[in-house]
Each structure stands twice: as structure tokens, then as C-alpha cells.
């Protein structure tokens, strides 16, 4: 007799079952709302334009544990006009953040590559912040057949 069974006895079987169904077994996953909130944290509410950013990620991945991702931004990378930062977010991992990278004219090209984890088929968003205070973005929908970070396989 666990504490939940005792609870069931006091609140009645039907309402107990209804409650049990809504219990989420793991920590809440990032939602489109969390994604929007994370984006707003970076942009501070400034408008985000589509374009200039190229988000290179396979549209269909077999293994979500290591998904290659490249973000390239069309920018002259001069002291007057360069990409200051590249932020990448996702929609359905436990957290919306993937990475933030800070760049400068010393990079010559606004280009960052890495490998990420995807817990589900979802949207991945890249946002570039320019030195002129503009925000540009690109997004891709990725289908994942084997999700990352589900359980310990070791």
C-alpha cells in the first residue's frame, strides 16, 4: 500500500484514475511556449526576421544522440557589421536551449558546427544576433527515429 493507493481510497477511484493519467512521468519537456520564452530571453522582444541564417541539419536522423548541426550566417564580418552571437534552440528536448556561441570579426566567417541531441522529432531554431542589433533566424523540422536521453543504456 503506497501513498498513492491511500490517496485513491480517499478521493474515489474514478477521480484518482483521471489524476493518474495526467501525471507526467518525467520532467516537463520544452514546449513551443518554452521555446518562445527562450527566444525572447535572447532577443529581448526585438523582431526576428527570417533569412540570412542557414541551418544545416539532416531532416531525417536515425539516432538522436548525435545530430550534426551547422549554422552559417550571411554576414561580411567586418567591425561595423558582424554576427555577435548565434543561438540555437529546440522545441521538445527537456530544455529549449541547445547552445549560445559568441563571435566577433576575428572569426572571418559566421559559421559554427557541433553535434546535438534530439529527444524527439521536432523543430530546431537558429537565431543570429548582428552587431547592428538585428535578429535573423532559420528553422528546420527534424524527424528522429531513435530519440536521445531516454534511458541509461550502459
Amino acid at each position: 500500500m503506497g501513498p498513492s493507493a491511500a490517496l485513491g481510497a480517499t478521493v474515489g477511484r474514478r477521480s484518482f484514475l483521471a489524476g493518474a493519467i495526467t501525471v507526467v512521468p518525467f520532467a516537463a519537456h520544452a514546449t513551443p511556449d518554452a521555446l518562445a520564452a527562450a527566444v525572447k530571453e535572447v532577443t529581448g522582444g526585438s523582431p526576428v526576421h527570417e533569412g540570412k541564417v542557414k541551418l544545416d541539419i539532416p531532416p531525417l536522423v536515425e539516432n538522436g544522440n548525435a545530430v550534426p548541426l551547422t549554422v552559417k550566417v550571411d554576414s561580411p564580418m567586418t567591425p561595423d557589421d558582424h554576427v555577435k552571437a548565434i543561438h540555437v534552440f529546440n522545441e521538445k528536448n527537456p530544455q529549449p536551449h541547445v547552445f549560445n556561441a559568441w563571435l566577433s570579426p576575428a572569426n572571418g566567417r559566421a559559421l559554427v558546427s557541433t553535434r546535438i541531441k534530439l529527444a524527439d522529432s521536432q523543430k530546431v531554431v537558429a537565431i543570429a544576433e548582428t552587431s547592428t542589433g538585428e535578429f535573423w533566424s532559420a528553422h528546420t523540422d527534424v524527424i528522429v527515429t531513435i530519440a536521445a536521453c531516454v534511458e541509461d543504456v550502459t
Binding site: P94, N100, W102, A106, G108, V112, S113, T114, D152
Partner: protein
Amino acid sequence: MANVLVSAPKTAKKGQVVEIKALIMHVMETGFRPGTNGRIIPRNIIQDFSATWNGREIFRMKMSPAIAANPFVSFSAVASESGTIAFRWSGDEGFLAEHQVAITVT
């Protein structure tokens, strides 16, 4: 000391844009996965990665649990002067790794 693999050209022409790749061995445990005993495995990730060229920061990245195990990062840099490119990874549980490569700019 962690296992680090860095790829950067040994020589470059001044003003040339070079590609730098850095890989480090690390579990990048997310802190969201239950282990075999059913308990959540505590988070253990690299949080920050930075690269400096002769002490001047050229690249910095803040990582989240969504970065794959054995984090790989590639970026570019303008070859400005001969010297060293230094890499630094830091994270949970006091993790710290540093690596340097030499580059000659002509």
C-alpha cells in the same frame, strides 16, 4: 586530463580564414535520464568552451545538456599573427580541460 583532439592548420597566410575543430571526451550526462536503479543520473556537462588566439578571445560557446556526448565544435578564425591558440572547457563537477596549439602566420 581529458582526451582532447584539436584540428587547426600549423601555418596560415596573414588574413586567411582558417577552420578550427575541437573535440573532447566527455559524457555530457543530461541530468534527465534515470539510471539502472531508477534514479535520475545527476547532470554532468561541459558548460563553457572558449578559444583564445594569443590571449585574445576569438570564440566562446555556452553548452546545454542538448550537446551530444564528446562535444565537437568547429568555427573559423582570421589568421592574424603567429602564436598559440588556446582552448578551454569547463563544466560540472569542477571539470576543466585546457589545450594549446601553435600556429605560424606568414
